[in-house]
């Protein structure tokens, strides 16, 4: 490879946080005039790589090259002088200032030492015309749609940097038309010879706009490929690391006569969150939910639990129409929910293990039927033992436990309420092997005891192992339902990548 081939290049980049290797010997090359998609699940190292390319982080090994010459980028401002600009998911401009001021903030045209507003607005108008954006430059930025703000942010970044543009999930909060609008702008910039890095979770968008794709997984480079040689399935396989040839079918025998129906959701959905879906859940059944990040997996869990109430469709519990407007409604009907973000939504960090375990049960009992200390200790002790929670004392703050033990505490919290239906969102993410095995064992045991569960997980092998059925989410839509012998990671990968035709009854 000739040195001059890449505008921006990372060679053998290494980044270590503590004793965690975030990026391990990653190579990345960006050509001018291309849109280069950067893909990977959460924690794959995308944002770390971007932060190194924009100078926000310094690499612990390897080097960054601009036009073939090694550079050291001290900070994002310094990176800007090399022509590298970034636009983030949340527009970080000033919504209460005018469009023109946002475009030229920090380098306003001056006249006699004062800001020359007339020239600034004329310049802004001319600049935005390049993007086919005809808005009043003196209007407040905040009055425009997010898409327009994104374009303004891009215009600013291109104007300041002009060589490399990094778009970090710019489409996350845009609707379909706005995305198309944004893509027009990106195509225009590409034609002007800019090198563009595009980060997103939406595969459709990658195929719509990108020329090449680089996939990261667990901090290592999986591959960089020309996109027109790849199918969707190939890309998903690269991201998740599942070989289609591998087919560990489910261990769970699909019972021909399923147990009685526990839950029924009909056209259940929530605007801007999940498209309406139908799902029937029987007692003693584990429904696995597969899909890429941002596909609407967590949203399904949250509307089922009433954390974000549904605004369409109906839910039936034991055959009776039921309103699940609040979490307390769901809990009253025997629901439990272990959220994905354990720290932000799961644990009560400063409270003791004991209090964390009894809190949901106490919530169910209400304010005045208080469990006394001895009862709390008995309950916490019982579940602590059953779940093998390793804590020096039940009275120590739960935040001092390891992630796996915290997860077991939250699981215990719901088991203490004797639930009929348990929703687990990524129950095994980021926990150690021992706790992982314990949680999988618990899921199997609970299913045999007749509990219904909905388990969201990115670990396809794992989902396959304990699920009776698997629903696949894609772009906020439930696109497939897989059952019986048809469940294997390969089929799931295909379902995530393509449309619904392979849903088999």
């Amino acid at each position: 490879m000739a040195d001059g081939e890449y505008v921006l290049e990372a060679r053998g980049v290494l980044k270590i946080f503590g004793n965690h290797v975030a990026l391990d010997n990653v190579d990345f090359g960006l050509r001018s005039g291309e849109v280069h998609a950067l893909l990977g699940e959460n924690g794959a190292g995308k944002s770390t790589l971007i932060k190194i390319l924009t100078g926000a982080y310094q690499p612990d090994g390897g080097g960054i090259y601009v036009d073939g010459a090694e550079v050291s980028l001290d900070n994002p401002l310094h990176a800007q002088t090399f022509g590298i600009g970034t636009v983030y998911q949340e527009v970080n401009l000033l919504p209460n200032r005018s469009v023109a001021e946002n475009l030229f903030l920090g380098h306003q045209p001056r006249r006699f030492g004062f800001v020359d507003f007339r020239r600034m607005e004329a310049d802004a108008r001319a600049l935005l015309a390049n993007y086919d954006l005809h808005i009043d430059p003196s209007s407040e930025l905040g009055t425009h749609s997010v898409a327009v703000q994104q374009i303004v942010a891009i215009a600013r970044a291109v104007q300041l940097s002009g060589k490399v543009l990094i778009l970090d999930e710019p489409t996350a909060s845009l609707d379909r038309n706005e995305v198309e609008r944004l893509f027009e702008v990106v195509r225009g910039l590409k034609a002007r010879g800019l090198a563009i890095i595009f980060i997103t979770h939406f595969l459709d968008q990658v195929f719509a706009i990108a020329d090449r794709v680089t996939v990261l997984r667990n901090g290592t480079l999986i591959d960089t490929r020309q996109l027109d040689a790849l199918s969707r399935t190939d890309v998903v396989r690269l991201m998740l690391g599942k070989d289609i040839a591998f087919s560990g079918a489910t261990d769970v025998e699909p019972s021909e006569t399923p147990d009685e129906v526990l839950l029924e959701f009909k056209a259940y959905g929530r605007r801007r969150s999940v498209l309406p879906f139908d799902l029937t859940i029987h007692k003693g059944e584990v429904i696995g939910v597969a899909g890429l990040l941002g596909s609407g997996r967590t949203e399904v869990a949250r509307i089922m639990f009433g954390a974000d109430p549904a605004d369409q469709g109906e839910a039936m519990v034991n055959g009776k129409p039921t309103s699940l407007r609040r979490t307390t409604d769901a809990i009253r009907h025997g629901f439990g929910f272990c959220p994905e973000d354990r720290k932000a939504e799961g644990i009560l960090g400063d409270l003791s293990v004991r209090e964390n375990i009894v809190i949901a049960l106490q919530g169910k009992l209400g304010w005045f039927k208080a469990l006394n200390r001895d009862e709390q200790l008995e309950i916490a002790g019982r579940f602590g033992e059953a779940m093998d929670i390793r804590a020096a004392s039940l009275d120590m703050p739960v935040k001092l436990l390891s992630g796996g033990n915290q997860q077991k505490v939250i699981l215990s919290r719901w088991l203490a309420t004797d639930p009929a239906f348990l929703i687990l969102d990524e129950p095994t993410r980021g926990i150690d092997v021992g706790a992982h095995a314990e949680i999988v064992r618990t899921i199997n045991r609970l299913r045999e005891d007749g509990m219904a569960m909905l388990v969201i997980s990115s670990e396809l092998d794992e989902v396959v192992a304990y699920s009776s059925r698997i629903v696949v989410m894609r772009d906020r839509e439930m696109v497939a339902e897989l059952r019986g012998k048809n469940i294997n990671p390969g089929v799931i990968v295909q379902a995530i990548a393509n449309h619904t035709d392979e849903a088999v009854a």
Binding site: A344, I347, D350, A360, G363, W367, A392
Partner: protein, 334 residues
Amino acid sequence: MKRLQLERLANPQLLALVAVLLINWLLFPNFFRITWQDGRLFGSVIDVLNRGAPVAILAVGMTAVIATKGVDLSVGAIMAVCGAVAATMVVAGYPTPVAVLAALCVGLVCGLWNGFLVAVLDIQPIVATLVLMVAGRGIAQLITEGSIVTFNEPSLIFIGTGSFLGFPMAAVIAVVLMILVTLLVRRTAIGLFIQAIGVNRAAASLAGIHSRMLLVLVYALSGFCAAIAGVIVAADIRGADANNSGLWLELDAILAVVIGGTSLLGGKFSIPLAVVGALIIQAMNTGILVSGFRPEFNLIVKAGMIILILMLQSPLVGTALGFFKRDSRQATPK
């Protein structure tokens, strides 16, 4: 069990209170002298109890608010409003119980308003309660029509200056309120829920706690406590002063709570220790007055004392001195 009780007594707040009282005694040898006169106790220590009562009462409600990671800046203004309500009603000829009940209801409504802003509209507590902190004094002035409403109704005055079994009425009310509210939160699950909301409201809501309703109630309690304090202060001076009643007391109440070991970040709380905090503040005020120092020193000494107490509570110092031995042992898992 006995060991636990002793350890409980050896907390920094009580030690600080004892230290302040001893310093007062050194500076003013008669500090601990108590006399019996006209069927009641007199003396500097009794004075501390009496004068400290309004802040102690505010601290009871404030502790619950702060434990939810909130703060209530409006209590001083609510005191003024409720004092004004009680005074104008008594002057207008209503019987004392009606006037007091009306004042308490007004305090409750003020608290509900704060709770509505914080829990339902999700406004940050410091801003939400600032509304009433500013508006409250205006409302109080409207009620008193700009003047200081004085009254001579003995039954109302009794609430501020009377005595019960020799102890000042205000102190008795404060202690009874402290015990009742402590029992309410500790004998029910409310205390646990308040802590859960303060530690992590999102997680508490997902665990099925009616966090909204509880937040509204906590602010209502704070407003109610402020109403009691407002009536006591008005009864004490036999008049409602819309401008000065309860002025800056919200800050003393917050300070009392913090001295009492409740973190402004919410979570674990102790109502009795907050009341001890209020007594520490008052003991310093009284000590400086009776020992003949110029009152200007008060603020500086107070600041120094606060720094000292807060340092004793800091985890860093705690670890360094091995002060919280139980806690540090817990802090090493596995």
